[in-house]
């Protein structure tokens, strides 16, 4: 297992390099321009100077190499300096700078990460927690009223987009009932019970919208996987031996059914980091998803490049984790 993991990790290096180049090339070829959003009153020659000051007048490969150096050497050194307090060189390294804010991209990401992890991560967690029991019961009582309702809700949750449910929730709970705020306050610091309550209040709507969406996806997986196992011979054997139904279901069937589900859940983790672009935008959670979409709209190439690349790293990493988990959970699978 260890050699397998090591081999996969080493193999990830060229993969990620190719990905980073592909992203950079795609972004460079896209006909976006960082001065595109500026008022037309700013004359063309000034725009040209702005582009030059962003380094856009340099050739493509040079810009790519700069980014590689900034991202793989300067930024890690910077993090190391901050963590340890050591000083490498004179400490003035060129960092990856966002074009829109002119501030280091990594700082922006660090600033946005907590919101995204809280809201999107919690929604994912709740989604999983809702999905597993519903999926189990649905499968155990296949075609019952519960299963029918569960299937219907999962289909609705899966097919109705979050930009619809989100706005619907705002109209009902913020505009009409005025129970929850429609705008997320990223400045809120939880210090006492009332501020904690406020934090819960402002998280309810976005988390609900996202949790519903996640839950409906995962429920279907759990149900299908449970159904596969319920009709297996070992289940009949267990029942024949007189094992209690509860133990059959929760010990034998559920454990085996969860193996593919765990993989699906692990593969879904990177999407937490990429944020929920639409939901974050609707509730103004201003996490990583919102950061990415504003960067795309404003042609903030260094920011888009860095964010997308970090997502790529996470996807490669969690693919590996899913594979390894699969090996650990399922004794029939051995990589060595």
């Amino acid at each position: 297992m260890f050699t397998y993991t090591l081999r996969r990790l080493l193999f990830a290096i060229p993969t990620l390099l190719i990905i980073s180049f592909a992203i950079f090339a795609l972004l460079d070829l896209a006909p976006n321009d960082p001065t595109g959003d500026l008022p037309l009153t700013i004359p063309p020659e000034v725009r040209e100077q702005i582009r030059a000051s962003l380094g856009l007048d340099q050739p493509f490969f040079l810009r790519y190499l700069y980014w590689l150096q900034q991202f793989f050497i300067n930024e890690p050194l910077n993090i190391l300096e901050r963590l340890t307090g050591w000083q490498f060189g004179d400490g003035s390294r060129m960092r990856v700078l966002s074009w829109a804010t002119r501030s280091p991209v990594v700082d922006l990401i660090v600033q946005r990460l907590p919101q995204t992890l809280w809201v999107v991560g919690l929604a994912y967690l709740f989604g999983v927690m809702i999905a597993i029991p519903i999926g189990v019961i649905s499968a155990y009582k296949q075609y019952s009223v519960f299963d029918q309702i569960g299937t219907f809700l999962a289909m609705v949750g899966y097919s109705v987009p979050t930009f619809f449910t989100g706005v619907l929730m705002i109209v009902i709970f913020s505009s009409y009932l005025q129970w929850f705020p429609s705008v997320y306050d990223t400045n809120l610091v939880v210090t006492d019970f009332s501020s904690f309550l406020q934090q819960v209040k402002q998280m309810i709507l976005p988390v609900t919208v996202l949790a519903l969406f996640n839950a409906s996806q995962i429920t279907r997986f759990v149900r299908a996987s449970m159904l596969d196992n319920l009709h297996q011979d070992y289940v009949r054997t267990a029942r024949a031996k007189g094992v209690k139904e509860k133990a059959v279901l929760l010990v034998h069937v559920l454990r085996n059914s969860l193996i593919p589900v765990v993989t699906v859940i692990a593969l879904g983790v990177p999407t937490i980091f990429s944020g929920a672009i639409i939901t974050e935008q609707i509730f103004r959670v201003n996490g990583l998803g919102q950061l990415l979409i504003t960067a795309v709209q404003g042609a903030d190439i260094p920011l888009v490049q860095t964010l997308t690349f970090i997502f790529a790293v996470l996807i490669v990493l969690f693919n590996l984790i899913a594979d390894v988990l699969y090996g650990i959970l399922d004794p029939r699978i051995r990589y060595d």
Binding site: N32, T35, G36, D37, I42, S182, T186, Q290
Partner: protein, 569 residues
């Protein structure tokens, strides 16, 4: 009894008094919540140039003088507006002298002096700085301190409208002490300064989260000891226009929402909730359809829309250009897409009133399908079996492009239907705004390249003087491969008389004469069909009924008088 009466009248008088003077003291009205649905990226307008950054920073850093809501100049950091009469502007128009207020302090407590003004000019004109507001400082030879509180700006040649540098939200004064080591290529590296500039304005940045939220507090060193009434400002960003309107007008979570670009009927419903109101201001924005003078036939390849392609086969005919304008019902476009935020116009310079022409309103503002048809009939354009007019094998079929935006696409559909009534076909196309306005010379979809017969967008000019704007239609300003497609004369309009008129305008000092000339040039463009002006666009913002003192301004930052805002009692 008598005493009681006296007491009562006294109370009434006191209430009336507090009612008229909306705020009593500095920082007594709590938190002001502002919502910008496009989040603010930086607080240094010299590094961004975006409207949202210019507006947000206007609460912190100020220019020497601003425009008020009626387009009049008002002194901010100076004692008076320099004019020819008071000797502030030199007779030869080669310099302007600003007298700074003596006791203004920066928010860090240090005195504001002529040095800071000079430094601001140096900062923005430094090479490699990529200063977005460089155009404000164009034609300046030097900026010198006559004494600690007097600044003299000298121009390279006579400048008949000298109020550009240090005037308006686009060119505020920054502090020398803070930005001294941030000049030129080093400018973007000064993140702390760019996110939290020291200013002379009513508020100070407390915390800046880029593209998210800005927290500001009242400036304790602000020159008016009673202002600002609010103790702090929270400027939240992100989301979309419709939900921003909802947060101000329906849920009441925010006091002020900028740029409510939402369908008029949706806004009307939200206003009916009774929590807020809309404010509209008209600057100089005009939505227009530009008509290409050169042939844009795709078979011409890279020669398209350049001089080498030759004149446009049908749009070169003045009758066609006039007919296209006559067929359009501007009132319907305004009602459908703009509501209170639009007025029908036939001018490219729609305001201020002094320079806005009314000459062409009689024929141009009203839709006249019959007249347009007759004009085309007389010019020999005959309808074919498909209903499209043609002459000598040239069909009146136009490629009509614009940027992606729901209002623009609706307008395209309307115009297409009206043109169909006069036998003109239109193929509609749209490109993402960041591509269309992006100016990437490699992209075929930019508005400068104009690989279409007609295209639609909005443009405007800063401040109140249209001289620089009118100079965009000079013959040599046409975009072409030789200038990297960078010209601003998008229609490729060329008229020697027009060029002469612009030259004359730049040498005329008398305001009345300037206005007359500007009107003449504007009329030439409309009459000769360089473009079809459609809508004079205003900006709409919303604010809560609990907010007092908003004076919506289309000539400067909308937040220009935020120091005077207060909580309505």
């Amino acid at each position: 009894m008598k005493n009681l009466k006296l007491l009562l009248t006294g109370t009434v008088a006191a209430i009336a008094f507090t009612g008229s003077v909306a705020h009593a003291d500095r920082a007594t009205d709590g938190d002001l919540k502002i919502l910008f649905w496009q989040a603010v990226s930086t607080m240094n307008p010299y590094l961004s140039g975006g409207t949202k950054e210019v507006y947000a920073s206007s609460m912190v850093i100020e220019p020497l003088a601003r425009y008020d809501e009626k387009a009049n100049l008002v002194p901010m950091l100076v004692t008076e507006i320099p004019t020819l009469e008071n000797g502030g502007v030199a007779k030869d128009m080669l310099s302007i002298t600003w007298k700074l207020k003596a006791d203004v302090k920066w928010s860090d407590g240090t005195p504001f002096t002529a040095d800071d003004v000079i430094f601001t000019w140096k900062y923005c004109t430094a090479p490699d700085g990529g200063c977005a507001q460089k155009a404000q400082y164009q034609g300046i030879k030097s900026v010198e301190a006559v004494d600690k509180n007097t600044v003299k700006v000298s121009f390279e040649e006579p400048k008949y409208y000298p109020y550009s540098a240090f005037v308006g939200a686009q060119s505020p004064v920054i502090q020398r002490k803070q930005f001294e080591n941030c000049v030129g290529a080093k400018a973007p590296g000064c993140t702390a300064a760019n996110f939290g500039p020291v200013g002379t304005g009513p508020f100070v940045v407390k915390e800046f989260k880029p593209n998210d939220v800005i927290t500001l507090t009242a400036n304790t060193n602000y020159r008016d000891p009673k202002k600002p009434a609010f103790a702090s400002v929270t400027l939240k960003g992100g989301g979309d226009a419709a939900s921003a309107a909802r947060a101000v007008l329906e849920t009441g979570e925010f006091d002020y929402g900028w740029n409510m670009q939402v369908e008029p009927e949706v806004l009307a419903k939200m206003v009916a909730a009774g929590k807020g109101k809309l404010e509209t201001a008209f600057g100089t924005q005009v939505e227009r359809i530009v008509l290409n003078r050169y042939n844009a036939d795709p078979s011409l390849g890279a020669k398209r829309s350049t001089k080498e392609a030759g004149p446009h086969p049908s749009l070169a005919d003045p009758a066609v250009r006039r007919a296209l304008s006559l067929a359009i019902d501007r009132t319907t476009i305004v009602e459908a897409g703009y509501g209170a935020a639009g007025k029908e116009t036939c001018n490219i310079v729609p305001a201020p009133a002094a320079v806005a022409s009314t000459k062409n309103d009689s024929w141009c503002l009203k839709q006249d399908i019959a007249g347009a048809n007759k004009l085309l009939d007389d010019a020999g354009w005959k309808k074919g079996s498909d209903g499209i007019r043609a002459k000598n094998g040239v069909k009146l079929n136009f490629l009509y492009s614009t940027s992606t935006n729901s209002v623009r696409q609706a307008t395209q559909e309307l115009v297409k239907a009206w043109w169909a009534e006069i036998g003109v076909g239109a193929e509609l196309r749209n490109a993402s705004a960041s591509v269309f306005f992006g100016g990437d010379p490699a992209s075929p979809d930019t508005f400068q390249k104009f690989y279409a017969d007609v295209e639609m967008y909005t443009n405007n000019f800063d401040g109140t003087d249209p001289e620089k704007y009118l100079a965009e239609w000079l013959c040599d300003k046409a975009p072409s491969p030789s200038n990297g497609w960078q010209g601003q004369n998008i229609p490729r309009y060329c008229n020697a008389d027009y060029d002469k008129g612009v030259a004359e305008l730049s040498k005329t000092g008398d305001p009345a004469k300037r206005a007359e000339l500007a009107k003449k040039l504007n009329d030439m463009l409309t009459e000769e069909g360089a473009h079809i002006p459609l809508v004079h666009r205003g900006q709409v913002s919303s604010h809560s009924l609990k907010l007092a003192g908003v004076r919506m301004n289309g000539w400067d930052s909308e937040l220009w008088n935020v120091a005077d805002w207060s909580r309505a009692k």
